[in-house]
Homo-oligomer: 448 residues x 2
Amino acid sequence: MSDPDVTPDAPSDLPDSDLMENVVGLCKRRGFIFQSAEIYGGFRSTYDYGPLGVNLLRNVKNAWWEAMVQRRDDVVGLDAAILSPPAVWEASGHLSNFTDPLIDCRKCNQRWREDKIDGVCPNCGSTEFTPARAFNLMFKTHAGPVENEGAVAYLRPETAQGMFINFVNVLQTTRKKPPFGIAQVGKSFRNEITPQNFVFRTREFEQMEMEYFVPPAEAQHWFEYWLDERFSWYTGLGIPADQLRLRHHGADELSHYSAGTADVEFLFPWGWDELEGIANRTDFDLKAHAQASGERLEYFDQVANERYVPYVIEPAAGATRTMMAFLLAAYHEDEIAGEARTVLRLHPKLAPYQVGVLPLSKKETLEPLARSVLTSLQPHFMCDYDVTQSIGKRYRRQDEVGTPWCVTIDFDSLEDHAVTVRDRDTTEQVRVPIDQLVAELRSRMDQA
Amino acid sequence: MSDPDVTPDAPSDLPDSDLMENVVGLCKRRGFIFQSAEIYGGFRSTYDYGPLGVNLLRNVKNAWWEAMVQRRDDVVGLDAAILSPPAVWEASGHLSNFTDPLIDCRKCNQRWREDKIDGVCPNCGSTEFTPARAFNLMFKTHAGPVENEGAVAYLRPETAQGMFINFVNVLQTTRKKPPFGIAQVGKSFRNEITPQNFVFRTREFEQMEMEYFVPPAEAQHWFEYWLDERFSWYTGLGIPADQLRLRHHGADELSHYSAGTADVEFLFPWGWDELEGIANRTDFDLKAHAQASGERLEYFDQVANERYVPYVIEPAAGATRTMMAFLLAAYHEDEIAGEARTVLRLHPKLAPYQVGVLPLSKKETLEPLARSVLTSLQPHFMCDYDVTQSIGKRYRRQDEVGTPWCVTIDFDSLEDHAVTVRDRDTTEQVRVPIDQLVAELRSRMDQA
């Protein structure tokens, strides 16, 4: 039966500032995201993903991997190291170009990003500053027992270079031919001077990047192909199309390596902002590394008897900010039978828990059966087992964190060997025999 | 039909040095593991995981997560930041205790680990050294625009502390009660002076750690419980029990925080060495962080009306070295019909590809059907699609990287809508209708 009193919600009715505040509050209250080292006063702009957040973040990354690697035979994966020697970043241009302009206030000595202040020191109001210096955004450390120049290593500011410098390794071991891609999910680090907007821009963050190597003449075709593919990935996982847009970069904002870039943008509470950049990086990176290393980073096309340096189309997404977009788009407040509820309408593939297993009562008579239902579901789904408070309150708790299905074991279950499956969005409840439960939920999952 | 000529193999017949050399060679040749920044001469003791390695490593981590988080309702996940402020490592003891003794040769100025050389400089033969200095193994960097003391951050040398400092956050957001655990998979960094044995000991590595919080009186019980659980995890995924052992630490090798530690050791080619340590960390960590932060890191037991600091049982495994153990244990050489083959007998859950999809011929008549078989399998399994060279060579290629099942599409398939499924270990081949293929492979997977 379905609940007749669900009021359709209108997320856009929430003022943007409330939406942001509500989602950040939910993240803390329910264990999605904590500030890092909170008991020590916090470590600014660094976050820890709690029990629900780690599930959601894993699901986002796994959904990307499934779409970009598992379901394709033209893309393979890679997992390159975070620590890397200066030679890589010299060739890529990061050592000289990956900088922000910083100035010091001559009165109070505070340091600022020149392009982010308005000519007046936000600390003391002085207008006297040192000339701007280029501040490199890469985190620097030392590997080995001596802290000298030869021991310098950088934390990668992007995963992309790991794919370029392994281009020949991958070519030789996989026998792939252009067009083919190398995909990677992993952490990157940027010493941002002005991290902001919760997990949107942080110093430590996670990327999902793919470098797609193509014959130069096909670059424009594949650029457009990947714009479509990547836009569809977000809508397919539940972000409404009207909260997404593609924005092509103007000639003046293109990176030095790019012949064309477009961003997939999401309508964040503070306005449109980037989830992912799709760039035609040309042959810039392979040529730069070939020149710096002396290795041939080329492909020999045996059919055409032709050697060439492939162009690269790069869809580069931020996992943590994408997770944030999914949370913002999923957040709704509606009413059930006159009672307000908060519900995360997350795609079942993304929800931290797919199934809430709820014995109607704490009484010992129900527990063995409830536990056996739980055990039968766990190999297939992330499950939460919740026995405390009323069933209504438990439904609300699961709604609030996006659990698409609740399975309730009641006293009838002992007789009819069936359970009630409740749907998060419609609140519809149906009775399902226990021995068909896995198949029923799998089928709902496949249809989502 | 099965191949009558498979000769049972005896992995222990391989001399250890050959086994190591063969596995390292296979890793490079087939794209499991590359040296980092290889085109720049390599970055010592840092490795990149190639297309097959990243699949295997993901599978190892996912198998751990499934066993430790997904299939349990007493353990939740966490994903804490790598960058962390000094306060955390001061409280944990890492700033003062996590050191190696280093000495400098007075003649050639080379720096060495005192306990690793034999009184004579390996470089110049001198016996004159400076007194030993304690060298901290944590990687240090600076966050923010000024490189001063206040900006110091460390790359975590273990994931464990992220769980301790979030203990109250997790308690409050999940309502778990001891005994319960917090699990984490992620990278850690140690500035090892003597990294060695391929990916066994590296400066950047990946951990799989779980902190299990228990009432102090139950600590010994849970310590033994986790010894059993963790030992079984390795054997359940295919490591023969005679290549594993539990070794209890003597009182003289216990860490400062430990009331008891045992290692799960694997028989590596260089001898028994650690895969995982299971420690009774007592209440050392929670008390240390409580004292340093001023926060109460305790549990209030409402039934007993009692407040206490839980003890912690920690199973802490290395993901990368565990992957290496799975590779070493899986490596076999045998004979099929008088022909030598190399085969990785990896558990199907761990294999980089579960299924090789092989059209018998490159002819265009087979390709549409072969591709439709591939597309139907990809949502469920990691698949490799291989069309080059003879079917026998392609079987060998799949055997060598551990693919448990090959699906061959031949000209009969166009008529009978069935394919041949070949088993890696037995080489047995059976005909399976295409519309039952997913179910057949799923069932083999579940039974593995």
